[in-house]
Each structure stands twice: as structure tokens, then as C-alpha cells.
Symmetry: C2
């Protein structure tokens, strides 16, 4: 019974190759060759290339979003009846994703590239599923941010959340380059350093005074 091993081998190889070349750019032949399994195994264990891609993505994404909600809930308990501080909210949103850069067992850099691309510009066959996956998250975070930022109009909050998400996705996708450059730029510490600078940047951006009257 190494059916599970075959499945996992395919998922791991697909993660690397989809991460490097994207969905249309990686072929099932490359994937099965890298996994050391037969070509036909993909269509047996997964139904199609698209379904394989879905599994590759959601296997990693679901734990990230679950961790975000867990941390946010913990932060809310810690805050009692006060709003969760802005920086704390941001940290629960950013850290669960970016810490994957240094954790190959949770997908590592290939997963970050893959997810960033899909959120920047979702492939049609994924966009509805992504909306469903993120809807509860976005509801909870919109609420948490508006509590932490009383007086910010919803439309401004909407834009600022988009900007914060975009900044996060960009550095997530580029962790590999940053890790390379960090050796020349000085002690960059592209993992924890990036997270702390990003939380700081987003806190300043989200917390700045509203442009429009409340």
C-alpha cells in the first residue's frame, strides 16, 4: 500500500514544477519523471491536470488560512473586550504565509510563488474556489481592521487592505531573490526581517489618517 507515497510524490514534484513554470508551462511528463512514477499515475490518482493543480495549491493554502484564523482568535482572546491592536492583526495575517519561506516541509518558496501568482491573477478554473477559500478570512479581517481603526471609511479600508495584500504577495513571490541578495546587502535576514518590516510598513499605511471624512 504505497498508493499514498505515489500521491505525495506526485504532489511534491508538481509543486516544484508548477512553482517554476506555472500551470500551462509544466507538463505531466516532467512531473511524473521527477516524481519517479509512471505518467498514467496522475490520471489515476487525480482526475486531470487541473485537479492535480488544485490539490497542490490547497494542500498548502488551507493550513495557512487556518493558522491565520487561529492566531487572530488567540489575539482577540488576549485583547479581551478591547480591539486587537493593528500590528497584532497584521502579524497574524502576514506571518503564517511568509514564514513558509524557511519551511520547505510546508511548501517553501515554490508554494509561495505559486500562490502569489494565483492571487495576483487567478486562472479561470480556480477563481471561484479561491474566492470561497478566502471569503471567511476576509470577513473576519475586515472586521478586525475596522475595530482597530475606528473612523476609517470602508472604502478606504478596502483599498488599504488590497495594498497590504499586494505588498505581502510580492515579497512572498520574491523570497528567493531576496535570500540571494541578502548575502550582498548585509544581514538582511530575509525571513523574520522581512516580516517585521512588512508589518511595520502596513501598520503605517493602514493607520494613517483617512483622506476622506468619516
Amino acid at each position: 500500500m504505497d498508493a499514498q507515497a505515489t500521491r505525495d510524490g506526485i504532489l511534491n514534484a508538481a509543486e516544484l514544477l508548477f512553482g517554476d513554470h506555472g500551470f500551462p508551462g509544466a507538463s505531466l511528463r516532467q512531473i511524473t519523471d521527477k516524481a519517479g512514477v509512471n505518467l498514467a499515475a496522475v490520471n489515476y490518482h487525480f482526475r486531470s491536470k487541473e485537479d492535480l493543480y488544485r490539490q497542490v495549491l490547497f494542500r498548502r493554502l488551507r493550513p495557512v488560512n487556518a493558522e491565520r484564523l487561529t492566531l487572530l482568535t488567540q489575539a482577540a482572546q488576549l485583547a479581551g473586550d478591547q480591539p486587537v491592536p493593528l500590528r497584532a492583526v497584521l502579524d497574524t495575517f502576514i506571518r503564517p504565509l511568509l514564514r513558509r519561506a524557511d519551511d520547505p516541509a510546508s511548501g517553501g518558496i515554490p508554494f509561495l510563488r505559486l500562490l502569489s501568482r494565483d492571487l495576483l491573477d487567478p486562472p479561470p478554473f480556480l477563481s471561484e474556489e479561491l474566492v470561497r477559500e478566502f471569503e471567511p478570512l476576509m470577513t473576519r479581517y475586515t472586521h478586525a481592521f475596522s475595530q482597530a481603526l475606528p473612523g476609517l471609511p470602508p472604502l478606504e479600508l478596502f483599498w488599504r487592505m488590497q495594498f497590504a495584500l499586494g505588498a505581502q504577495l510580492y515579497v512572498a513571490a520574491r523570497q528567493q531573490d531576496f535570500a540571494r541578495r541578502s548575502r550582498s546587502l548585509g544581514p538582511t535576514d530575509s525571513g523574520e526581517g522581512c516580516i517585521r518590516h512588512l508589518v511595520d510598513f502596513c501598520a503605517a499605511g493602514l493607520g494613517s489618517p483617512p483622506l476622506t471624512a468619516a
Copy 2:
């Protein structure tokens, strides 16, 4: 002599299809069908699919970056011997790109999607050319920002510029969704509104006090 018309027709069709499906996802057959020209015309006017893609991208990108440098130079002249104010620097960087969303003649939304994807995660056959294209720009803007933000350590400036770039690319890639949602979210004005909110957000993020001592 409608060789030029054929070339342009191919470029325009390729821009739309590469924008929708990416480089590996769009085929030369789809492109020549949409352009109403023969399949062989691509290899005659361009040398290969990769060269076609390069032309599609740089035809739009070069004017954007030229406009950025022109505006920054004008702002510097206006400021005299003072540093250009932070918001003004950001505006010259952000506006030339994002205003393309409402300007189909300069590439419109398909170009924004295409460029955002390529900067988030450059295809290997483009990455060197992209570095060359952006190098003078990044040098000038790094200088302008460090003048506008005395006392900010270079490493922090580096991160904050990356975050600002990421936020810009994300909203550039998603202009289409925002335009759709703006009808339900109220008077979003996804063009000028987005630019002003983004400049504001980045100004707050870049201008916040340094984490580390200078």
C-alpha cells in the same frame, strides 16, 4: 506596404492573448487567428514566440519608464535645491503605470496584467532584460527617496520600496476586478481613486520612523 499593419495587428492580438493566458498559455495559432493574419507571419516579422513576447512587453513598458523619469526630472526642477517631497516622488512612479488602466491605446488592462506577472515572477528568458530596463530607474528612485527620507537606513529603504512596488503591481493586475466591483462598492473611481489612495498608503509606509537606528 502594410507590413507595419501586419506587425501591429500581431502585437495587439498577442497583447490580449498573452494578457489573458500568459506566455505558455497563448498559442501562436490563437494569436494569428485573432489578428486575422497567417500563422507564418509571426516567424517572419518576429523571430520566434519569445521574441514576439519581448516586443509585446517592451513596446508598452519603455514609454512607462520614460514617463516616470521625465516626471521625476520635472519634479526635481520644481523643487530646486530642496529634495522632491515624498508624495511627489511616489506620484511620478505610480501614476504613469496605473493611468494605463483607462488608456487602451497604451496597452490598457491586458498590459498591466502582463507586466505585473512578469515583475512578480519573471520568466527566465526575460529576467536579465527586465533588470537592465529597470536598473537606471531604480538608481534614480533610490536616490530620490533617500533624499526625501533623510535618516532612513538603506536596508529599510530597500524593503519599503519593494513593498510599495508590490502594492502597485497587485492593484495594477486587478484593475479589471476593481472596475467591476466599483459599481457595487459605491463611487470607487478605480482609476484616479486608486492612484491617490496608493500614493497615500505608500507615503505613510515609507515615511514612518525607522525601526533601526540610523
